[in-house]
């Protein structure tokens, strides 16, 4: 049903003929949905930042930069991505190793690479795009659905960057990079047998992770998640306050800029990771459902666009990106509402922050490129 609606949207835009946007390889439907989301995001941010117009202005600059990058990438033919994939993957891995060796960072994590001290960038962010690109490149030359040997090679390709990112340490990004790679595999037709085996393996590996690999702060987060009330002033504070903010919003919300939890600063990281709690407090369940609907439309449109890709590589790449986008949404809202552990994932295109906006808009650029270059 949703699919039909998305297709109708598409047809509606088609009837308007070859608009300028179309010639610019921009899907007008997706552009419209993204603009609505970003504009709404600015309003939410204005309230969540405590009416900080400076922050809103910076976010607008990030959006402008993001849309510019999206348009640029949309012009690139997917075949170019196919060609560049292994090189970019190699460069990305080297950058990740450099981060661990000479990276800079804050709060006990090294995530940034300083280029001649002029500007800093976060290679792990770019890997969110490069990893699925690489996996799609690899699978596009193999017989699908993939066999065991291919699957294991893919897992190697995924876990190498994931492990390097995890070492920074940045659990949230490591999980997103892995899932982006895995989604390619799923779109490539990974058989349900292997999916079942993977689930069992994860359950078996979990205790090993717990005792062998995880840092204390990560364990603490898991423990806090399981029983936030046990440490209400320390690590449990965030979730207790965000649930209180969401719950107290009720059906209709307290009104824009009227949320006491957020405006009186009981809610931590209210303009970044926990921004959905501000929105839920001020706009209630109705507002939340509207936002979820918007995300649903974007994801459905994205999946449709990916499925119209010219070749397997293009479809796999774009499909993995749009599903990863959804994972962002799910993990963030799940975490803020207390059904997932706190892993530090921003709410796509709503949370304040340039890095994630640029990465996400680049991903939408890829999806547009795949969709708009569908005819030879």
């Amino acid at each position: 049903m949703a699919g039909d609606f998305i297709r109708q949207l598409d047809d509606a835009s088609m009837q308007r003929g070859r608009s300028i946007l179309h010639r610019m390889n921009i899907d007008i439907t997706m552009l419209f949905l993204l603009l609505v989301l970003c504009a709404g995001g600015l309003f939410i941010l204005y309230s969540a930042s405590g009416q900080n117009m400076g922050m809103v202005n910076r976010q607008m600059i990030y959006f402008a930069l993001g849309f510019f990058i999206m348009i640029v990438i949309a012009q690139v033919d997917p075949r170019w991505f196919h060609m560049a994939a292994p090189w970019m993957y190699g460069a990305g891995i080297i950058a990740l190793i450099l981060v661990l060796l000479v990276g800079v960072g804050a709060k006990g994590a090294q995530r940034w690479l300083s280029v001649f001290g002029v500007f800093r960038f976060q290679p792990s962010e770019i890997m969110k795009l490069i990893t699925p690109m690489m996996v799609a490149w690899y699978l596009s030359s193999k017989l699908l659905p993939p066999r065991l040997k291919v699957i294991s090679s893919v897992l190697m390709l995924v876990f190498l960057p994931a492990l390097l990112i995890f070492k920074q340490p940045d659990l949230g990004t490591a999980l997103l990079v892995s899932s982006a790679g895995i989604f390619v595999l799923l779109f490539a037709g990974l058989s349900s047998k292997w999916i079942a085996i993977a689930v069992v393996t994860v359950l078996a590996v979990a205790p090993i992770m717990w005792y062998g690999v995880m840092h204390d702060y990560q364990k603490q987060r898991v423990l806090t998640f399981l029983d936030p009330e046990s440490d209400p002033l320390g690590s449990g504070w965030n979730i207790i306050q965000s649930k209180t903010a969401i719950g107290s919003g009720g059906l209709e919300g307290k009104g824009w800029m009227q949320g006491t939890q957020s405006q009186l600063e009981f809610l931590p990281e209210r303009h970044t990771d926990f921004i959905i709690a501000v929105y839920a407090e001020e706009h209630g369940l109705i507002g939340v459902l509207i936002l979820l609907m918007l995300y649903l439309l974007i994801v459905m449109r994205g999946i449709y666009m990916a499925s119209r890709g010219r070749d397997t590589f293009a479809r796999l790449f774009a499909g993995a990106l749009i599903v990863t986008f959804f994972i962002y949404v799910f993990v963030n809202i799940g975490m803020v509402s207390g059904i997932l552990p706190v892993v530090g994932v921003p709410l796509p295109l709503i949370s304040y922050g340039g890095t994630s906006i640029v990465t996400l808009m680049a991903a939408f650029g890829v999806i547009m490129s795949v969709y708009m270059h569908r005819r030879i």
Binding site: L144, G247, G250, E281, T312, F330, S337
Partner: protein
Amino acid sequence: MSFASKDARVEKDIFTKRAYLAGLFVFILLCVLAGRMVFLQVTQYELYASKSENNRVQLKTVEPIRGLIFDRNGVLLAENLPSHSLTIVPERVKDMQKTLGLIQALIGITDDERARFEKRVKSYRRPYEAIPLKFQLEEDEIAKIMVNDFFLPGVQVEAELVRHYPMGKDFAHVLGYVGQMNEAEKKRLDPIQYKITRRIGKIGIERYYEKELHGQVGYQKVETNAQGRILKVLEKQSSIPGKNLILNLDARLQRTAMEAFDGRRGSLVAMDPKTGGVLAMVSSPSFDPNLFVNGISYKDYNALRDSLDVPLFDRATRGQYPPGSTMKPFIGLGFLESGVTNWEEEIKDPGWYMLESDERVYRDWKRTGHGEHIHLRDAIIQSCDTYFYEMSFRTGIDNLHPFLAQFGFGQNTGLDIGNALPALLPDREWKKAYRGRSWYAGDTLNLALGQGFMLATPLQLATATSVYAARGEWHRAKLVQFIDGVAVQEENKPDNIVLKNPANWDEMDRAMEGVITHYQGTARSLKRNLNYRMAAKTGTAQVVGIKQNEEYDSEALLERQRDHALFVSFAPIKDPKIAVAAVVENGESAGKTAGPIAKKVTDRFLNDDRPKGIAYDF
């Protein structure tokens, strides 16, 4: 790369199938999120709405202003001065050692302050309660803390009103002081009224009238942010200040008495015989009560505690002394009342007295005796012990004890004097119970001289003298005259003393006046410059027991082993306005030590011509 074996159609079909699955998967997960939101925002709305409201709105208790205390002329004795203190909310401090280190670097913290802060943090307290670290901050210290506010989360400068006693040590014992509440007190007191109060009255009037002085707390319903800063006052109920007290005490007399003692150990209590109002009550040496308000330092406290002069001890209400010959006017009236003698009967005084039943020689203080013709008046003027031996033997303890008890000896008759001791007026039952022996005739003889088992506090001596001066009309000693303008009511007044022959009062007055005016009077040195008529009696109390055949040699005794000097008096005789009891420890001669002190106070009171009821500067 071989594309040959790959079938593009199959791959596209696989993708399409998986795309539908992905769409379904996305839809289901979004439904999970929506369901979670419905649960939080609809099912559990009430819970979280109230949680959010509790976060936002806090009920702040507003501390009432403690009542002021004035002397009888309106001189301020206890006030509330603004003071800034540094407090810390431990829950808001991430690294306590670092924070304390920074404060140390900025304004300095003594080891003492640190130790007491840590003790306060450890003892029971409510979460998010601010714990005081340093009191009485200077302006520049406040500025240094404010500037570094950002680096000191949980640290705040609090302005508060702090008790101050402008008269310092003059009123230390009688007024008492407020101090930091301890755990036991916290549990005892009303948790609502004392929710944020830090100090309560520890001793003296501050303690006895705690309820009146404290007032009623108010509250403020305030909106606060997560840092606890008040953003808006939503609702307000003002606190009701504590009641102001106007004392019977006179700051001038208090100062005069303290100066008269000049650091000597002793005590003086002066009362108004017409009302029982305590005009002056000092215990010397004294201490500065202001030291205790913010918690006295260990060093200061140890110095006070370890001093041989025990300045913390309130001699006026808790110092128990053998009253010595100051008992003679009361006991003399007892002789007359029991009918064993009259004003005319004379006895011979060889300087000693012996009972038929025992070998012991009861000596007069004057070894050569007071002469052949000693009657009661002489016995009072010269303080003749032999006369009192004889008459007390005739009267007996069973007549003497109830008569003396009428003057309040052996009881705490003060109206609002909390911790006064009852001291001791012995009788047969007491001796049986506490000494396990029966009462001997010799015990009565000792009692007649205010020695032996008998003990009295300066307050009791002043009360007895005051009741005497009022011709037996009882008024309980009271410190406070008005509470917020309402006169303190006297309750449970003991029965007035009615003599069979009221003329005995006048005769005894004459005898007591003779103590000063007669050439043989034991306090004749006070006669100089006396512009009113004063009745008095001296007394000495042995500190070291003198054996039967030993001489009392003051030179040989250490200063602290010398006799205590006691003195009671009232004036003017025709219309008594002030009754005084004074004790000078190891003062030896009442006429030379305790007497002059009592006279100075009486002088000051009777000769002050300034209009009453007007406050004046000191």
